[in-house]
Amino acid sequence: MTVTPKTPPANAPVTAPANKNKVNLEKKDYSGSASTLCTGCGHDSITAHIITATYQNGIHPYQIAKMSGIGCSSKTPAYFMSKSFGFNSMHGRMAPVTTGAKVVNGSLHMIGMSGDGDTASIGVGGFTHLIRRNVQMCYIVANNGVYGLTKGQFSATADKGAKQKSGAYNPFDTIDICSLALTLGCTFVARSFSGDAKQLVPLLQAAQKHRGTALIDVISPCITFNNHDGSTKSYTYVREHDVSLQELGLVQPMEEIKVDYREGSTQRVQMPDGSELILKKLGANEHSVSDKINALKLLQESANAGQILTGLFYINESSPSLNEELNLVSEGLFELNESQLKPSKTQFEEILADFL
């Protein structure tokens, strides 16, 4: 197991006034309603990290749309950024709903929160095709290996041999969301742990700036139904088996790079808005985040070794997003008015001529 160093994250803005971000908001402006999840639920930690990341990125809540499906995890958009629009859709349908909204209003920042049941079972069709299309969004899977909201049944991400509270074990192979996403051509693939602010916050920040679909599979223990001995998604199990691939930091545009890393190889990734993601190797794994094949290999090897590999596995800032691919006008489709949309009378006659 790798112990993550206890240094503070290196991504606090340097120019904004104290307690305010670059859009002049305080962190409390990013809060939501009080959570109704079980005390200790991993999902609540993710909520907290989303708030921190979005605040630090200085994205105004008015520019954000919070999207989700159905499940305990999908309830969380109510618990962050009350000033943003929220869309708690149907079970498994976050992906297509977000696709439609993003295509017609490209200026919205899409933050999606889904569960492992929501994404890997009922919603797996929409999920895979969202990735194929590279819809620009930050897609978080709060992965607890069970259906929390329907009281603890196994989900498709439960590990083979994992035990339910009742003692029943899971005989089926797990769907590894990150491997799946990589093979589908996802342009940003990461895994983290809800309890790891140091890793998850910069990942969320980078994901929010990514050009296409940014997927973060966040292991997020279900304290009520999947935190017992024999579970491979419990707090204890994850802490004991978590292996971080890198140490991450995000440097905002115009910010001085102050990341003080120890020796070892670092990799820098330029984000579309000019910020820089800095990755520093941890442990023995040599990995370049532009090497998809190696990412798949590492994921497979670590799974075989019983480890939970976390970090950023792959990033590609050169593939066009769906909106770019659709070659849309610069305004949102939603704001085009009648005079921009209705062809002229002459064109109407021209069309009808074919039918006379």
Partner: protein, 633 residues
């Protein structure tokens, strides 16, 4: 040619039997278009199998001088080009009809059975050996297979006395600018024409096409094309779909149109079309786009509609504008995917679980396919609801005559949307309140730059402020308001069209319309129908009138059903409700909406997959009246 004394001018049915994939479509279109351009009132129906190539397919052309071009069951003239069906085809001819066929195809018609049919029905067989004619028209093996169809067009051109200039123009149009194709097709038609002129001159052929001015201001179009035009002019900007017959051609046509007419000068698109992974995703994308403020639509047919059910209820409860254009086909299940029906009515109205009710539009002609393209978006945005348009295969994929469409001047109705300035002026914004007391709340669009703008959309229980709730009174406030919205919708959906029986009911523009369900003359019989049954109903009324039976007609164009329909029902001793489904779904809907007049409603159902005919409406009415008379005696 000998001309029979009783000449049928512009009054005949031609059926052409071919093999799917044999290229007969172009030839058939040329024939139909020639008749249409000569001013002969016509309709064309393609009866095709669920198959890409090899199975039998038929094309029906009906010419009728008054414009009654609904399907008529039996043909006057048959062109048999498919050896698989020759014998069966013989049985679909009217007695005294003409059966032109390719005699190279075998000896089927020399069998005893064939000879008996021919004799009993006094069929005039016209065997033609197509091979030498094809050989004369081209040397290319590939082209031979295609031009064979133009030869029967040439034969018919002579027999029917078609205007050759118009024929050549239609050939040129069909093959656009491909000169070599045009030349070989013209040549084949000429060879057929010449053959008929020399070889068939002694056959007394009583059917003639006469040039008239009747189609001067008309178009010949498929409903799906009209729908695509409607979307284009109705301001649609977002489409997600999953291909399914018979709806695919709407989206394909729309893409063509939008590529041409919805681009900026820099080549940027003012529309988006996404071919989704399934219908679950199609409708969800449409909801996402509708929520974000775009006019968004999906096209589908029965199986897809079923998959959209959960999202329909979500849309109803979260009040998101969206449109489903359902081109109905025969069910249940995969059913007969290339045959027509009106079987989705009840499921569309109540699509989804819980107390869901969706407004539905029921286009009955090409004009309405076009017009409802805009109406559907206007209503969806005004009512903040899913609107389902129910077309069908007959209307969507067949060729119908229509008065030339006019440029839509009606402005878009974008409904109750508050922008940042509006929000600044008002005290508070409640997403799911009812400030206007019409059941329709106000909405804001994501991205609106105002502190009051945001709200939370959820399919779970919510109160007027869009906050989660499980409180009975708060929940009930919302669903009661939705019921009120349904009442408001009745004042906004397209009203029924009423017609009085009139022997000259050639087309709807000539017929007198009455307002508010009130009809001027006294008829004891009402006919209620919707969608593609329209022409068959009008023809049935005409035929009934010839029998001195006066009828009134109410064509329903939308659900919710409006109260004037009740007036109509009450004014008639009996009302026949025409459905193209087994269970009389509109009849059921009327009986449950207006249960006080249950006893005045009778159901007429046509559900064999073929387009409805006047006879199938007329016969049950006559039978009912005879029975009633007998009971009274």
């Amino acid at each position: 040619m000998n001309v029979n004394k009783s000449i049928n001018k512009n009054n005949f049915v031609i059926t052409i039997a071919t093999v799917n994939g044999s290229g007969s479509q172009s030839a058939n279109n040329i024939l139909l278009k020639t008749l249409f351009r000569m001013g002969v009132p016509v309709g064309g129906k393609n009866v095709f199998p669920s198959n890409i190539a090899g199975l039998p397919t038929w094309f029906w052309i009906r010419a009728e001088e008054n414009g009654y071009v609904a399907r008529r069951a039996k043909a006057d003239i048959f062109v048999g080009m498919n050896p698989q069906t020759l014998l069966e085809d013989l049985k679909t001819l009217r007695s005294g009809g003409f059966f032109i066929y390719n005699s190279d195809l075998g000896t089927q018609l020399q069998s005893d059975l064939a000879q008996t049919i021919v004799k009993e029905a006094s069929i005039q067989l016209i065997p033609i050996s197509f091979k030498p004619l094809v050989d004369q028209s081209t040397d290319s093996i590939k082209v031979k297979k295609l031009v064979i169809n133009m030869i029967y067009v040439g034969v018919l051109a002579k027999l029917l006395n078609l205007d050759l200039e118009v024929l050549n123009l239609s050939i040129a149009d069909q093959f656009e600018n491909k000169d070599s194709v045009i030349t070989v097709n013209k040549k084949a038609a000429e060879l057929g024409y010449h053959y008929a002129e020399t070889t068939l001159k002694d056959i007394p052929f009583p059917y003639q096409a006469i040039t008239t001015e009747k189609n001067k201001n008309k178009v010949l179009m498929e409903g799906n094309t009209a729908a695509a035009l409607g979307w284009l002019f109705g301001g649609c900007t977002f489409t997600a779909w999953y291909p399914i017959t018979p709806s695919s051609s709407i989206v394909e046509k729309y893409i063509q149109l939008a590529q041409k007419y919805r681009k900026t000068s820099e080549g940027k698109n003012k529309f988006a079309v996404i071919q989704a992974e399934d219908e679950l995703s199609s409708i969800c994308m449409v909801l996402g786009a509708g929520w974000a403020g775009a006019r968004s639509v999906t096209a589908t047919s029965g199986p897809g509609l079923s998959l959209m059910a959960e999202a329909a209820g979500f849309s109803y409860f979260t009040e998101i504008p969206s449109v489903i254009w359902d081109v109905q086909r025969v069910g249940p299940s995969t059913g007969m995917p290339t045959r027509t029906a009106q079987g989705d009515l009840l499921s569309a109205v109540h699509l989804s679980h819980g107390d869901t009710k969706n407004p539905c539009l029921l286009p009955g002609n090409i004009q309405e396919c076009f017009e409802f393209g805009q109406t559907a978006f206007d209503l969806a945005e005004r009512l903040q609801q899913l609107v389902i348009v129910l077309s069908d295969l007959d209307l969507g994929m067949n060729l119908w005559m229509e008065n030339k469409l006019t440029y839509p001047e009606k402005p878009f109705d974008r409904g109750k949307v508050l922008n940042a300035e509006d929000l600044e002026k008002i005290g508070q914004f409640e997403r799911y309140g009812d400030p206007d007391k019409d059941g329709i709340p106000y909405r804001t669009l994501p991205g609106t730059w105002h502190e009051k703008a945001s709200y939370f959309t959820r399919g779970s229980g919510h109160n007027a402020k869009a906050a989660y709730t499980e409180k009975s009174d708060e929940y009930q406030f919302i669903v009661d308001r939705l019921a009120k919205k349904w009442e408001t919708a009745k004042t906004m959906v397209p009203a029924p069209v009423y017609l009085q029986s009139d022997p000259n009911l050639a087309s709807k523009d000539q017929a007198s319309k009455t307002q508010g369900g009130k009809v001027q003359t006294k008829a004891q019989i009402g006919i209620i129908a919707y969608g593609s049954s329209d022409l068959a109903v009008k023809e049935a009324m005409h035929l009934l009138k010839e029998k001195n039976i006066e009828t009134h007609y109410c064509r329903i164009r939308a659900v919710p059903l409006t109260p004037d329909i009740l007036d109509f029902i009450q004014q008639h001793e009996v009302n026949f409700v025409v459905d193209q489904n087994r269970d009389g779904q509109m009849c059921e809907l009327l009986k449950s909406e207006f249960n006080q007049v249950f006893h005045l409603i009778e159901s007429i159902r046509h559900y064999d997959g073929t387009p409805i005919t006047a006879e199938s409406i007329l016969e049950p009415i006559v039978k009912f009246l005879v029975n009633m008379a007998e009971r009274r005696n």
